[in-house]
């Protein structure tokens, strides 16, 4: 092991030398020979641009290392193996890039015959990185050089604007969990102002307001409302936060639990330290009295009053026309629901999440409510992880969805809407 620092030092010197001597030549030659490789793809997906750039840099760096390792040989044979999750198209692109970089470094690539230095590049990976390894030379005098490329989330863009009866528009991803969000476009949509509600803080256009943490839940629930004028109102558990006249966010005292407001003048207390509500109450509508504890509530606002579908703690959803008895019970639904209206169908539709738990994929299914029956309408919209929050918009035409992508581990903000037909 005493040799190790010396080896690193030696490799560093060789690399610097090669960079200094051929670097400038390579950059001009490479740009001339493969303009498509160097020109960033014009796309709104920043991840995709970064992915291409990081890969290109890695290929370039490894090519330099290989060039240093094979010296003084001028002719090599090249083999690229894939031991990673990269698809065939990506492997082909990487292989082509390696070939071009090595040629630019004045190496002649020929078939594998005796006397030619053989380069075996393995596209390997760990959980977090792609590791591209080059084994240079014969077994006894083999030298190993490698580079690593951090994996990026480049599959998110595929999830946007899925053409289904239920459509999803993925707006944002982030590493930290959040409870709700609001996106406000200004300057004709060129600039987006985000308000993000997390369990411990409210981020409003860059300002951060801490939310008192007293009755903490392992499954915190929170809802956000931002008016056109930019007035913010947020509820997390029993705490309510709102914009003050001075533009700051002020949160209620954690000592007094604030009720959540629901459609039609209904409200409910939140059970502190838990993930469900104590029960809807109203004194002003026909459906008076207390409804049972629930996870989420979907209103049906009709001329003669507001009626509710509640997802309850026993795993069933129930439709209430009066507090005493439920008019219908629905099984096989997840715990998050929301009602939604469409322009083409005057009826009420309920968006319902899937069953299972947070280690599994999820879905949102539209149900039509007719005569106390819920009928699935169209195929479900699939999510690659659990839907964590489902809140209706003010106009009732879309819902805000917070979900977790189990493949990337990131939390996603989406707007889900329902269109008629395919």
């Amino acid at each position: 092991m005493q040799l190790l620092p010396r080896l690193f030092f030696l490799r560093a010197i060789v690399s610097i030398f090669i960079f200094a001597t051929v670097g400038s030549t390579l950059s001009s030659q490479t740009l001339a020979q493969q303009p498509s490789q160097q020109t960033p793809i014009e796309t709104e997906d920043e991840n995709a641009i970064q992915l291409k750039t990081t890969w290109d840099k890695a290929v370039s760096a490894l090519a330099y290392k290989i060039a240093a390792a094979v010296k003084p040989a001028k002719t090599v044979s090249l083999e690229v193996k894939n031991k990673s999750s990269l698809d065939a198209e990506s492997v082909a692109s990487v292989r082509k890039a390696f070939t071009q970089y090595l040629v630019a470094l004045h190496l002649k690539i020929e078939p594998d015959v005796s006397g030619v230095r053989h380069i075996e590049i393995t596209l390997s990976e760990s959980n977090s990185e792609y590791v591209w390894v080059a084994e240079v030379g014969l077994a006894e005098s083999e030298q190993v050089v490698m580079v690593s490329v951090r994996k990026e989330n480049n599959d998110v863009s595929n999830a946007t604007n899925v053409t289904l009866t239920v459509q999803r528009n993925l707006l944002k991803t982030q590493n930290a969990p959040f409870l709700d969000f609001s996106k406000h476009d200004v300057s004709a949509g060129r600039v987006s102002l985000w308000t993000i509600l997390e369990a411990g803080e409210l981020k409003n256009y860059g300002d951060v307001a801490p939310i008192p943490q007293i009755h903490v839940s392992r499954d915190p629930r929170g809802r956000l409302s931002v008016s056109e004028a930019g007035q913010v109102e947020a509820q997390v558990g029993g705490i309510r936060c709102a914009s003050t006249a001075g533009g700051l966010i002020d949160c209620s005292s954690p000592d007094s639990s604030q009720n959540w407001a629901f459609a039609g003048g209904w409200e409910s207390a939140y059970v502190l330290g838990r993930n469900y509500f104590a029960g809807l109450t109203s004194d002003t509508t026909r459906l008076t009295g207390n409804l049972p504890q629930f996870f989420s509530a979907a209103p049906l606002v009709l001329d003669h009053g507001t009626f509710w579908i509640l997802t309850e703690l026993d795993g069933k959803a129930r439709f209430y026309e009066s507090p005493a008895n439920s008019a219908a019970t629905f099984s096989g639904w997840g715990d998050d629901i929301a009602t939604i209206t469409t322009t083409c169908d005057p009826g009420w539709h309920v968006l319902v999440t899937g069953t299972g738990d947070w280690t599994q994929r999820d879905q949102i299914q539209v149900y039509d409510l007719k005569n106390h029956q819920a009928l699935a309408n169209g195929p479900p919209l699939e999510f690659s992880g659990p839907v964590l929050a489902l809140w209706p918009s003010e106009d009732g035409k879309t819902v805000r969805v917070v979900s977790r992508n189990l493949q990337t581990g990131k939390y996603e903000a989406s707007i889900v809407s329902v269109s008629c037909g395919d």
Binding site: S126, S128, N275, G315, K316, P386
Partner: protein, 393 residues
């Protein structure tokens, strides 16, 4: 006519109900008692009382993780017992414990009301209790995972993160001993150990880090080369008689040791296996000159982190005193290339012979929801699981 219609509707309803998912929940539910069985017997929760063996030390670390809020920089749990997600409500040393949910836990109350632990349950009993739905959670030896799954147990398997390796304790400086070590390493049929002893739960190990962590494990050969081993053995003038030790309390180590002895004999190497007392959890491992004479021993190395540099540094710390491996610490910024060359230099010394990578395997009852396999170095996330009453027995 009406009767026919009713029957028809009933048949349709039955089909629809059968097609419904068995679980009717998504958000976690609160309540219930999670039943856990441990193989180890934990004699005390007092941090000052040392564990008698590694199994107890591992179990104690899991219990500490339930009781203490967090770990300090040195990895030890800090703060008062009960500051964590659970508090001790009943304690019968070495036999049974009940932990109640801490209503005021900083990160929120656990979903289950309590965790009831039975200690000292044999692997056979744990698997049987899982089959009979008498427990909700128990660790299963990797070699029994397939059989447990065949018997209907819901099995959760981690990425392979525990290395079973052979470590030479009496490494002489001469070329001869280095050749003997190389011959033994080449004689071992790792694939057969994985396939037959581990019942395909694991993978052959050629290096000190698994492929999923380093991305370079494929550069270390795991192929048995008996012919090469024989050639090397034939070049050795005075072939020594070597003794391979294994932990008296570890049946897997015993089986693997016996298999290695058979492999070595096929290559003409004189190697015998011998049981050695179970290792103390904290303290020095067996070294040359100890009462029980062994030249090499089997050792289990569990990765403390998914990060390759952290795990490799920890392995070097552990192996160093045993095998005389000296290495400079790996910096946090170590590149995959740095890590590979560090690993390669240790492999080239021949003092450590990786055998197999094994996963952590857990048996979980059907009613346990939101179970997420802990990553290397993490403890059981029992505060995050909840019990689905619709799956209760």
């Amino acid at each position: 006519m009406k009767l026919r219609l009713c029957l028809y509707l009933a048949a349709i309803s039955a089909v629809l109900l059968a097609a419904l998912p068995s679980h009717t929940a998504r958000r976690p539910r609160y309540g219930g008692t999670l039943r856990v069985e441990l193989g180890a017997t934990v004699s005390s929760l007092d941090p000052k009382v040392a564990a008698a063996n590694p199994e107890e030390a591992n179990a104690k670390a899991e219990l500490d993780a339930l009781l203490y809020d967090h770990r300090g920089d040195d990895g030890a749990f800090v703060g008062a017992a009960g500051s964590g997600a659970f508090r001790v409500s009943e304690w019968d040393a070495g036999k049974r414990a009940v932990f109640a949910a801490n209503e005021n836990y900083r990160e929120g109350r656990p979903f289950v009301d309590s965790v009831e632990m039975q200690m000292g349950r044999s692997a056979h009993d744990r698997v049987l209790d899982l089959e009979l739905n008498k427990t909700d959670f128990a660790q299963i030896p990797a070699e029994q995972a397939r059989q447990a799954a065949d018997h209907g147990v819901r099995v959760s398997t981690s990425q392979p993160n525990e290395l079973l390796a052979l470590v030479f304790l009496r490494a002489g400086p001469g070329t001869e001993t280095a050749r003997v070590r190389e011959a033994i390493s080449r004689s071992i049929d790792r694939t057969a150990i994985v396939n037959f002893i581990l019942q395909k739960e694991g993978e052959p190990a050629g290096g000190l880090l698994p492929q999923w962590s380093s991305g370079t494990a494929f550069l270390f050969s795991t192929q048995a080369a008996v012919h090469n081993a024989k050639e090397i053995q034939a070049q050795i003038s005075t072939s020594p008689k070597l003794v391979l030790g294994y932990d008296s309390a570890d049946t897997l180590e015993q089986t693997v040791a016996e298999r290695i002895v058979v492999n070595a004999k096929e290559a003409g190497i004189s190697l015998t296996s011998r049981v050695i007392p179970s290792k103390p959890a904290h303290g020095t491992d067996i070294r040359p000159g100890d009462a029980v004479h062994v030249d090499a021993r089997l050792i289990r190395l569990r990765m403390p982190s998914p990060l390759p540099n952290v795990s490799l540094a920890a392995f070097i710390d552990k192996l160093g005193p045993m095998a005389g491996i000296v290495d400079s610490p790996l910096p946090e910024s170590a590149s995959p290339e740095d890590i590979y060359y560090c690993e390669r230099s240790i492999m080239n010394s021949g003092l450590v012979v990786p055998i197999v990578w094994m996963p952590q395997v857990y048996g979980i009852s059907a009613r346990v929801r939101d179970w997420k396999q802990p990553a290397a170095g993490e403890t059981w996330p029992l505060a995050d699981v909840w019990l689905d009453s619709t799956d209760a027995h």
